[in-house]
């Protein structure tokens, strides 16, 4: 699940539960006397944002991928500070451990040069910027509108489960009790993507009358192994 989707989900969940929380919330907390966790949250947020900006502005391709590691790792730390331990580790496992490795694999296959890549700029910059700003605005608006000034006590135990509000047990119960249908729909979507990827990679090239066997389509790096 992308961070954006997570945020929307959380916001939607918050909207349905807000009236419950308002009754159960702790005494009013000020925004002008931040705790250590809040300060850390802001600082990590600044670092994450900075790393994300460098990711899209640097002209060195592999550096961009490595700054992406910093940005995604910072996001994981933010989840941790929100006591959502499980989400944080899954974030590291999927994004840092697999997605970035896949990115680096692709960059190495195409022999990303050391130093600047003058042709790294795309003509779509303006369109990309517009899309990014629009989606960021939508996300911020949804989250702000959902939570307003609601104060959620993260450490407080949830009824029927031990541990903090973001612990594995609470996350699992929310996911498999209230959100089973979206969860299953997502898994069908992923399955469709998987089948699509297999079909694309086995596509017959025009001219040959049979599908290319997978064993002849190894990446160049593996040719030397034989």
């Amino acid at each position: 699940m992308t961070p954006a989707a997570t945020a929307v989900l959380l916001a939607a969940q918050a909207q349905t539960h807000t009236h419950v929380q308002v009754q159960a919330q702790a005494p009013a907390q000020g925004f002008l006397s931040p705790t250590g966790v809040e300060i850390a949250f802001l600082l990590v947020g600044v670092v994450t944002f900075g790393a994300a900006v460098v990711t899209v502005t640097t002209r060195q391709l592999v550096h961009a991928a490595l700054w992406l590691v910093v940005a995604l790792g910072g996001l994981a730390v933010e989840y941790l500070l929100l006591t959502a331990e499980f989400i944080a580790w899954v974030q590291v496992l999927i994004y840092v451990g697999s997605v970035v490795v896949l990115l680096l694999f692709g960059l190495m296959l195409t022999k990303a040069p050391i130093g600047r890549s003058p042709d790294a700029d795309s003509g779509n910059r303006r369109a990309a910027l517009a899309v990014a700003v629009a989606s960021a605005a939508a996300l911020v608006w949804v989250v702000v509108d959902a939570f307003r000034t609601t104060w959620i006590d993260l450490d407080g135990a949830v009824a029927g489960a031990e541990g903090a509000r973001g612990s594995t047990q609470v996350t699992g119960e929310a996911l498999f009790r209230n959100w089973v249908l979206p969860f299953e729909a997502l898994s069908v979507l992923l399955l469709a993507a998987l089948v699509g990827a297999i079909v694309l990679s086995r596509r017959t090239s025009p001219g040959s009358d049979r599908p290319t066997p997978a064993s002849d389509r190894r990446p160049p790096s593996q040719e030397g192994a034989r």
């Binding site: 592999v62 496992l93 840092v96 451990g97 680096l104 190495m108 030397g224």
Partner: protein
Amino acid sequence: MNDALDVALRLLVVFVAFLALPLIVGQTEHKVMAHMQGRLGPMHAGGFHGWAQLVADGVKFAQKEDVVPAGADRRIFQLAPAVALLPYLLVLLAIPVGPGEGAVGQAVDAGVFFVLAVMGVGVLGSLMAGWASANKFSLLGGLRTAAQLLAYELPMLLAAASVAMAAGTVSLPGIVDAFQWWWLPWQIVGALVFFVAGLAELQRPPFDMPVADSEIIFGAYTEYTGLRFALFLLAEYAGIVVLCGLTTVLFLGGWHGPWGADGLGWVWTLLKTAVLAFVVIWLRVTYPRLREDQLQKFSWTLLVPLALAQIALTGVVKVVIQ
């Protein structure tokens, strides 16, 4: 006890274990390999059966010049060994050696995911080294590392998920607490898949295609000298300790043993870890290196289906016994 002192003491103990255990495994490897090949191994350094050989190696590494190739990406080249080594230190922090709060560096709520996630980060060090060295052999090594990680992370995660299902928790101490002896035959397939996939993730023989010294001259580490190279080697041995410790905790029941009084559970954990480390060394001496395509095929057509079958079996048994 004072909180700060408690934390400092735990960190210190984990750090000492992090420095000592890989060296012990390394020295054992010297001797075990030598005896399996009908020779003596290091005999002179330190006097008694060459016990100080690794200390001497360390001094040698420290004396060597630290070379960065002219064409390399300097900063990433220098950062890579730290990225490869530090994750294993973090993982060691979460592995429980005995029952109770006192025998784990830091109890993590979602321990299984924590250790697997952080172990995966270590591979980024090899990728950074492979790309930043500006050397075609290093690049090939980096590519093979990435391909291998992508292939073997999945079966490892699935096997760990099976044991988490069996225990009904994702916390490492919780999993060992729930362990019963009959889990051993129940989870044996998952244990084998986990161990083999872990070996591949550490790039140990017979899965050492990414470093294959006789083909691509140690892959991503070709350009490294001195201490930075030693850090990569240390990462490999720390990886062995972490993998064997994790297999012990997840599948072999950690501190549970057929006999032994309370309070001696940590001996069982260390014993099982040591036996597994011996197996890792044994495999290195006895098995030839897999070819790259065999390696990919082994994971996707054998380990992944086996891990899925194990998960199905775990689910069925779990429902039946409830």
